[in-house]
Assembly symmetry: C2
Homo-oligomer: 323 residues x 2
Amino acid sequence: MGKGTLHRLEPRIYNYTFGPNDPALTVKSGDTVVAPTRDAGGFNEKMEPMPEEMKQHSVSTLLCERNPQVGPVYVDGAEPGDTLAVTIQRIKLNRDYAWSRHRSHFGSLTGESPGKQLFLNDPIPEAKFDWQLDLKKNTGTLELKSSRQKRIEIPLHPFLGSIGVAPRFGRIETSLVPGEFGGNMDCIETREGTVLYLPVWVRGAYFSFGDVHAAQGDGELCGVALETTAEVTVKLDVVKGKSIDWPRLEDETHIMTTGSGQPLMDCVRIATVELVKWLVDDYSFEKWEAFQVISQVGTFRIGNVVDPNYTVVAKFPKKYLPA
Amino acid sequence: MGKGTLHRLEPRIYNYTFGPNDPALTVKSGDTVVAPTRDAGGFNEKMEPMPEEMKQHSVSTLLCERNPQVGPVYVDGAEPGDTLAVTIQRIKLNRDYAWSRHRSHFGSLTGESPGKQLFLNDPIPEAKFDWQLDLKKNTGTLELKSSRQKRIEIPLHPFLGSIGVAPRFGRIETSLVPGEFGGNMDCIETREGTVLYLPVWVRGAYFSFGDVHAAQGDGELCGVALETTAEVTVKLDVVKGKSIDWPRLEDETHIMTTGSGQPLMDCVRIATVELVKWLVDDYSFEKWEAFQVISQVGTFRIGNVVDPNYTVVAKFPKKYLPA
């Protein structure tokens, strides 16, 4: 693959969709891209809102202006049936502030969303939460004015809420949705040091990322994490002729598969089947022995239960892989 | 509560239901019970099958002979509206062998079960897996005859698959089902050192336990864990006038709530709402600040996705509780 070129990308447009949008940059396999993200609301590292001219616009519809994405990056030589290996080299937080909020018809405690109201009881009250980030100590602090516990300080673990490629079958998906193309998985595993494997569905892959979270619990229950910005560095490698059906991840200790969809149980099933397939195809496990071992040592993490599709990550410890 | 009495219980009957069965023992609040469990198939620590005379029988129906339970223990003074605090003091494995298996119409990859066949494709092939337990090293070993990884050795973490009281509203439930009464939650958290809080629905509580697992992954995917036996010691304390709606747990690091049901998302929701209520009622959190904090530092564990109800455990780190 060679050493590759380092590209600094200063986005002129941030996109609200995953799909074959105009490429912001074309790279070769082995290249590295560094770029600043905007937060889920479009604010930059100085808390300046997104200028109109930097927003993706459509001639035919109003886009949902959430989770603006850096990119897409067109990866030369990436063809349908290949895999794009994305090494998340660095997520350098660059703002001492993150927001979270409760939206009336959004989050895990309601199946509601704009255009889909199900309940007659009062909605969740709107609320905004200002988290102060100490980037030196790597902590976030929230004042809890109405609770006996007046203040909470938590460790940060920055990750990319959204990261993906153009979907298959010619689909275009909003940056709020996770799926077989990655997207808004909201999984803490897409952090520094992780290699994310994405299926290539469209020539050039059209790789995008954004929506940095400084921290988040399992499931992103309230629908919103510690929303902030970062300078992000990713290395892109095309694995020719290797085809996968769903995003996979790898870090120092685990190989991991993802499943996105509804109901939540289907996420568990997809991730399980993908994990069995991975152990069989790449590690010479017999299928049912793989299933048995996963049943006893595998773990799941619920990435989100608030997006239009939920996401679950299934994990298998590398220490049980053949040498 | 006083020091309490230690009762050694040598069961004459093992029950296949949670409900007001004939008490095996009556204790007072503060007492401790130690008893041997049978494995999920009814075998004892010598792998001897259950004699007919030790099985629960019904005059009117055939019971499902799985997960035989020790008890019930009638707790004097426990009344509906109280809480039973169960301190799991010891789970002493006493067999060097555990079995697991794949059943054709059972487990996470099928919604099928006896009497509920949904698919025309071939069922999962039947398979049995013999795990050798080294109780000194606290490890389990499985030979993988058909995989390149010929053998797997994993650490053991014994826990009670089933533990609960008689259900509410006069219901009787089988020992395969988890619910508001505890039951077959298959959660790794019901292990040594955990305090399990169970709602008392029926005078005397009718506390039972069994189905020891030597180890298990999240979700108990194949439907079966490392099934074995143990000598179990539990201390029972009645918390008078304290009423809860679902089982709760506490260990050194976390307070935890459970939700059991289907779909899986409802387990997440129940456990979340219960966790918010706990933080509000006992730790003086304001409701929406509690929800925000749980959203950012709370975690979930999927106990099982194979029982007639699934179970999820929501966890909140004690370090964020007021002093």
